[in-house]
């Protein structure tokens, strides 16, 4: 395991979720699921986060915010879309204000479907994201990347 995947810190953002998935995300912190065993901390601060966890589809108001939060996170970083709305827009897809899934705004690395996504699924998604994180860090260290 690489350096990043041993201590992944999360930033959780609710783009326009119905709060179902958000409650499940917070569930992961409870004693039953205890994601701190993996060294995961829910920081709430993009400057310190490695994983951006987004619930809900992007609407016209949150689009800017998602972009900005993403830009404030240092590389390497991954994005996990939690819940079907975040993945595709879900039942709100056709709404006048919804752009669609998160990937319409920023690149998404891991999709966790479900309505609401279950804590186990979220943890699985995050663990999968760790692998991507390691990959990204390996790429960062290669010389071509440095030149770029």
């Amino acid at each position: 395991m690489g350096k990043v995947s041993k201590s992944p810190w999360l930033l959780h953002y609710d783009a326009s979720s119905c709060n179902g998935c958000d409650i499940e995300v917070l569930d992961c912190l409870t004693p039953k699921y205890d994601i701190e065993r993996f060294g995961i901390i829910n920081t709430g601060d993009p400057f310190q986060a490695d994983i951006l966890l987004i619930t809900g589809g992007v609407n016209s108001q949150t689009e800017r915010v998602v972009k900005q939060l993403y830009s404030q996170m240092p590389e390497p970083k991954v994005v996990v879309a939690v819940g079907i709305c975040a993945c595709t827009g879900g039942v709100f897809k056709e709404c006048y204000n919804i752009r669609g899934g998160i990937d319409t705004v920023i690149p998404v690395d891991v999709y966790v479907p479900g309505c609401a996504a279950r804590p186990e699924a979220i943890i699985d998604g995050v663990v999968k994201a760790l692998a991507v994180l390691d990959e990204k860090q390996a790429v960062m260290k290669t010389p071509e990347e440095k030149e770029r």
């Binding site: 108001q61 800017r64 915010v65 998602v66 900005q68 404030q72 240092p74």
Partner: protein, 629 residues
């Protein structure tokens, strides 16, 4: 030599009334300030060349005595006339009362003649402060007053008057610190009170006049104390020598002189006048109300401090000083007017000095002298930079100084050095605090120990929040043009250099200047802080400077990707705006904490004045009642 020290500024004061051309006046100020400084250097060289012994001068001076009597009467007439004109009763009564008392002594009492002037190390230190800090403040004034009158169009331009008052004040201060006869000191003391009164009323606005009379009656109350001390000494001891006051150690004259010192240095319950004095143009605040005149009060207390050790008067003085230290520093937290903060901080630091001299042992006096030096330099620097900032920004609100480091970097650096000098670790003020704390513990005064512990915490709070306001980087809302003139920068740079040098050369200053003063006051010498400790301090100081600089260059080598600050992802473009809940652009505004409801003047002022007044009144009653301690 001494007639020149007092004479040159006095003559210049007259010259400014005659010369009305602004440019020529500027040259005269430079020449005059230079002459005063040169004179002081020659004087000190002469004195040190003569073996640095205590010199006594002028045993017989009948003509001058008569002149001074005339001067006293003139001052009384001036005060009476102005009091009648502005319909104030209190200053009139106080002034007449004290002048009558002094005249009574002069014409009736039989006193043994003695020297009227004295030069020793403490005098020399005061002369250096007056000549150099005072001189450079005069130079600063040349540039400042131009900006001031551009900025305040409604105020009548009375610059000739202002300059002559400044120089007359310097003359009076020289006279005050060189004198040794009580009547002479009293004469110069009264002059400084009156000049301060005239300076505060410079703008002749209603508020200024009110505040100036407040300052006048409080200072005159101190003057009355002085006059009573003169009467008591003349009748009781048949001597008017300051040294006699110390050596006989009679409590009542000591108490009266202490009262004079407390009012002059704006201790509680008399601190109101110094706050009111902030309406005056900044140079007078820098010179009179922080660097020199209020120092006359603590100068007198330091002079008599060997007699205060362990008696009731000393206890009263040190209690009032300690109380003032903590109360003023708490009230400073709630102020957002920079000059008010400086005023409270002056009161509070003077409180510490007063507390030190009230304890009256070698260590505390050592600390008091150091505090006095550092305070004079850094406070005068701070006042000047606040004045310059006010001319540039059009405001002296600390809130408006947000990001001064970007907008007017040079002023921000100077202000930063001044603030750092007031409270940061290896700088001078802190060493003195350290010694004072140790001496308070040794003297077994638990209340003072608590005062200093809490007081330094509150002091730290108000300075830190100011400093962080200055250094807050942001994109300025509007560009400002730095209108600070060269004269002002010259003076401020001088102060900054002196400040840094004093910190670096601390061991030398201690050995060559402060230790001799303590030795002369107490008759014996004791190393208050060992040289190794002082040397460690100097090394620490260097490291505090070197570390950030080194770190700056190390951190420069790595590249940082700059991103906008975190505002929940709703920044509008740059860091200045965010989207509010209506979806509109809104300007970001950051404010300091002022804790007005906890530390505001309206809550603390009355109780602290009542407590201090109670201590003072009960103390005076006990002294009069002759309670032995």
């Amino acid at each position: 030599m001494i007639p020149f020290l007092i004479g040159i500024p006095a003559v210049l004061a007259v010259v400014f009334q005659i010369v009305r051309n602004e440019k020529i006046r500027g040259y005269i100020v430079y020449a005059g300030a230079g002459a005063i400084m040169a004179m002081t250097v020659v004087f000190i060289a002469d004195w040190i060349g003569g073996g640095a012994k205590t010199w006594m001068f002028y045993p017989r001076t009948e003509t001058i005595d008569h002149l001074m009597t005339a001067g006293d009467i003139f001052l009384m007439c001036l005060i009476v006339w102005l009091s009648v004109r502005y319909k104030r009763v209190l200053p009139m009564i106080l002034s007449i009362l004290q002048t009558v008392l002094v005249l009574y002594v002069e014409f009736t009492a039989e006193v043994t003649e003695g020297p009227h002037m004295m030069v020793d190390w403490l005098t020399i230190l005061m002369c250096i402060i007056i000549a150099f800090i005072g001189g450079f403040i005069c130079i600063y004034t040349v540039g400042y007053m131009k900006g001031y009158h551009q900025h305040h169009k409604d105020v009548k331009d009375r610059q000739p008057f202002f300059f002559s008052m400044l120089f007359l004040f310097l003359a009076a201060m020289f006279g005050l610190v060189l004198s040794q006869n009580l009547i002479w000191i009293y004469f110069f003391w009264e002059i400084t009170s009156v000049i301060s009164f005239l300076m505060i009323g410079y703008t002749r606005a209603e508020e200024a006049v009110g505040n100036s009379f407040c300052a006048l009656w409080m200072n005159l109350l101190g003057g009355l104390g002085f006059a009573i001390a003169i009467v008591l000494m003349a009748l009781g001891q048949e001597s008017l020598q300051l040294t006699e006051v110390v050596s006989t150690g009679a409590l009542l004259p000591l108490m009266c002189l202490s009262l004079a010192g407390l009012t002059k240095s704006a201790q509680l319950p008399f601190s109101t006048w110094l706050l009111g004095a902030m309406v005056a143009p900044t140079p007078s605040s820098a010179l009179l109300h922080s660097a020199t005149m209020v120092k006359a009060g603590v100068y007198l207390l330091i002079r008599i401090s060997p007699a205060l050790s362990g008696n009731l008067v000393g206890l009263i003085v040190s209690s009032i000083g300690g109380l003032t230290f903590i109360m003023a520093s708490m009230m400073a937290i709630a102020q957002n007017d920079a000059k008010k903060v400086l005023a409270f901080s002056t009161i509070s630091n003077l409180g510490l000095i007063v507390a030190c001299s009230g304890i009256g042992v070698e260590e505390t006096v050592w600390a008091a002298i150091f505090l006095m030096m550092f305070h004079a330099v850094s406070k005068s620097m701070l006042f000047q930079s606040v004045g310059a900032t006010e001319n540039t920004l059009g405001s002296r609100d600390i809130e408006d100084m947000h990001g001064l480091i970007i907008r007017v970097p040079r002023l921000a650096y100077i202000m930063g050095i001044g603030i750092a000098g007031m409270y940061l670790a290896p700088f001078g003020m802190l060493i003195s605090k350290w010694v004072a704390l140790k001496a308070f513990v040794d003297s077994g005064n638990v209340v003072l120990v608590l005062c200093i512990a809490y007081g330094s915490a509150t002091t730290m709070f108000y300075w830190t929040k100011w400093l962080s306001k200055l250094l807050c980087r942001h994109i300025p809302r509007d560009t400002v043009k730095d209108v600070t003139r060269k004269d002002e920068y010259l003076s401020m740079l001088f102060h900054a250099c002196v400040m840094l040098l004093m910190c670096l050369l601390l061991p030398l200053v201690a050995r060559w200047l402060v230790n001799p003063i303590v030795r002369q006051l107490f008759g014996n010498s004791k190393d208050v802080l060992s040289m190794s400790v002082l040397a460690t301090m100097a090394i620490m100081l260097v490291s505090i400077f070197v570390v950030p600089v080194a770190m700056f260059f190390i951190s420069r080598r790595s590249h940082t990707e700059l991103v906008p600050i975190y505002m929940n992802g709703i920044n509008e473009g740059d860091n200045r705006f965010f989207t509010n809940s209506y979806g509109e652009k809104e300007h970001l505004y950051l404010s300091n904490w002022y804790l007005r409801f906890e530390f505001g003047r309206r809550h603390l002022r009355i109780p602290s004045i009542i407590i201090a007044a109670a201590v003072l009144v009960i103390g005076i009653c006990l002294v009069i009642g002759g309670v032995s301690w």
